[in-house]
């Protein structure tokens, strides 16, 4: 049975960002250990509601806070973060999160048109992004590669860049992780809702704009709804939250169009189930744990 290889994190680096931020690098490399540590510490910080700290931002293998130095001294912030880190024991930790059905139209016409337009910015101008990524990661075909990308759920390990963009890290052992470089020169254009991949992360572009990730497909779902028309955006204009589990599902054009129609009519409801996530159980048997998670979703 394959397991997630545990990573012993180095001593965290506490760094001042000017007079009003502290950035904490837990590791230079991505790992579930680093991310769960970032998530656990920032969740504890939020609960503590410390006077003067007004932004708490978990990231992939790091986290950051912003504060008013008039209210809390920067050195006190670092001491506080250290003591929260000391109190946080990942082995006793679990959190309530949600697993979400995330349909993706892989090899869609829109990202295909875009990636063809920017071939000169790419490592391999003669292949598509999917062909390049499949080959680089040792897959025999694009279909097999897509099967792997959609074959196990992905955890949202960070949200940012622009409002609503999730970085997603696939919940599989390291030897099954997909890894690809970013474009040599970033594109000046990417369709909204494009599903891209860079480093070890899937990203979903909330709006049309620049981007440097390999382009694989397009989701009919929104990650940002500034007008908050859709029911699932009632609380926030941004859908993904750090810790969410997204289950990418390969769909065809017919289903894509049906979902878009409902999204545009404001009637679509995301398929979401609440789950309690246990790092320990996931580490011990990721494939079994994923199966259990997706069963909750697919019934």
């Amino acid at each position: 049975m394959s397991t997630i290889e545990r990573v012993t994190l180095p001593d965290p680096r506490y760094e001042f960002g000017g007079d009003d931020h502290v950035f904490v690098e837990l590791d230079e490399a991505m790992s579930f250990d680093a991310n769960f540590e970032a998530m656990a510490i920032t969740q504890q910080l939020r609960k503590k509601d410390i006077d003067g700290i007004f932004e708490i931002c978990p990231a992939n293998a790091s986290y950051m806070v912003r504060f008013e130095p008039e209210t809390i001294d920067p050195h006190t912030v670092v001491e506080t973060l250290k003591s929260v880190a000391e109190e946080t024991d990942l082995s006793e930790y679990q959190w309530d999160t949600r697993i979400v059905d995330f349909p993706v139209l892989y090899e869609d016409e829109w990202t295909h048109e875009t990636l063809m337009r920017f071939r000169d910015n790419h490592q391999d101008p003669d292949a598509t992004d999917l062909e390049y990524s499949a080959q680089l990661n040792g897959f025999d075909s694009v279909d097999e590669f897509i099967g792997a990308h959609a074959g196990a759920p992905h955890m949202v390990t960070m949200v940012g860049f622009v409002p609503g963009l999730p970085w997603c890290f696939q919940m599989v052992p390291k030897d099954e992780q997909i890894e690809v470089p970013k474009y040599v020169q970033p594109r000046t254009d990417t369709p909204s809702r494009a599903v891209g991949y860079g480093g070890a992360f899937t990203a979903i572009y909330p709006v049309q704009g620049a981007g440097g990730y390999q382009l694989y497909g397009r989701t009919p779902l929104e990650v940002l709804d500034t007008d908050q028309n859709l029911a699932d955006f009632a609380e926030s204009m941004v859908f993904p939250q750090p810790g969410d589990i997204l289950d990418f599902r390969r769909i065809d054009r017919t289903e894509y169009d049906e979902i878009r129609e409902q999204i545009e009519a404001g009637t679509y409801e995301y398929t979401i189930e609440s789950v309690s996530f246990s790092p320990e159980e996931f580490f011990a048997d990721p494939h079994g744990y994923n199966e259990m998670l997706t069963e909750v979703l697919r019934g």
């Binding site: 001042f16 007004f54 992939n60 950051m64 940012g160 860049f161 622009v162 890894e179 480093g199 070890a200």
Partner: protein, 322 residues
């Protein structure tokens, strides 16, 4: 109400910013030079967080349909009310039917028009600031255009008593003479060689044309990275890191450095190597394309001291106007 008869190059409604949403990718937005924004509000009797109009490089022309006290602070911009020149950094009366016409910036890049009562656009997440990249907040989420009609809040009591009161000259920044921008180095600066870090604080940087509310791209000494085998998940370029959060004011180093400003991306995969201190973000925001600056390395205590000193200055100015 104010009607925009000429918007200028880039004019947006801003307050002190939108907070508490950085973790979902929402930058603070808000005035790029909060000092000038605050002083403008003090002059007209507003709370310091009242929304002003931030004008970049060129002022706008605004027609008033009611009497208001206004103040213009920030970059030097010649201004007239119905062709009569007015002073900056001073509470001035505009009468119904008059037009306030503001010209090009000569010292600095951004000026703030504060109006008694503040610009009353609908707050979004507790802020009236405009974030144009996604089209949120401010006036319809965009920069002002000809014909826009801006509602005003109720003027504070006694606003008209302030007409003629002015900020003492000693507190008015001479933006073009400030060429040292203080930076707390750190974050991922281990990615740069020592020689490169040395060059960053000794050689001049020039503001490129790519300098706006999102970021200031600078041109200067070549960056040199410490060669490493890239860690898992970071991407292949030497400037890549596993995507992380960016402090506001941080210096990101793709090839040329970019200082991230109020509308910047909140995180990403380029190494950041230091952070412009909060006071100097406002001074940097007053730099124009082709101007030169130096980075001065300071520690966090120096940065806090600079911030405290500026707050004392602001308190003194505020008191002098009461």
């Amino acid at each position: 109400m104010i009607t925009v008869s000429r918007p200028g190059v880039l004019s947006t409604v801003q307050d002190l910013g939108r907070f508490g949403q950085y973790h979902i990718g929402m930058p603070p937005s808000g005035a790029m030079d909060p000092f000038a924004h605050r002083v403008g509000n003090y002059l007209v009797g507003n709370d310091e967080d009242a929304a002003t109009i931030e004008m970049t490089y060129q002022g706008g022309a605004f027609e008033f349909d009611e009497d208001r006290v206004v103040a213009l602070c920030g970059a030097t911009m010649a201004a007239t009310i119905d062709d009569e020149p007015i002073n900056m950094w001073e509470a001035v009366s505009v009468e119904a039917g008059q037009t306030l016409d503001i010209q090009y910036a000569s010292n600095g890049a951004r000026s703030y028009l504060a109006v008694a009562g503040g610009v009353d656009v609908e707050p979004l997440m507790d802020s009236r600031s405009t974030y144009t990249l996604i089209g949120l907040g401010g006036y319809e989420g965009r920069s002002l255009e000809e014909g826009d009609e801006l509602a005003l809040g109720a003027p504070p009591e006694g606003a008209t008593d302030r007409i003629g009161s002015a900020v003492d000259d000693e507190y008015i920044p001479d933006y073009d003479s400030i060429d040292s921008i203080r930076v707390v180095f750190g974050l991922c600066d281990y990615r740069l060689t020592d020689a490169c870090k040395e060059r960053m604080t000794t050689e001049p940087w020039t503001v490129t044309p790519d300098a706006d509310r999102v970021g200031y791209r600078l041109e200067g000494p070549e960056l040199e990275f410490v060669e490493r085998e890239q860690p898992f998940g970071a991407g292949t370029d030497q400037s890549n890191v596993v995507d992380l959060g960016y402090p506001v004011g941080s210096i990101q180093v793709p090839q040329q450095p970019i200082v991230l400003m109020q509308d910047a991306v909140t995180g990403g995969g380029y190494a950041t190597v230091g952070t412009v201190i909060s006071v100097d973000r406002g001074y940097l925001a007053q730099k124009r394309t082709h101007q030169e600056l130096y980075f001065e390395s300071v520690n966090v205590d120096d940065a806090v001291a600079a911030r405290k000193a500026q707050q004392e200055t602001l308190a003194t100015i505020r008191k002098s106007l009461e």
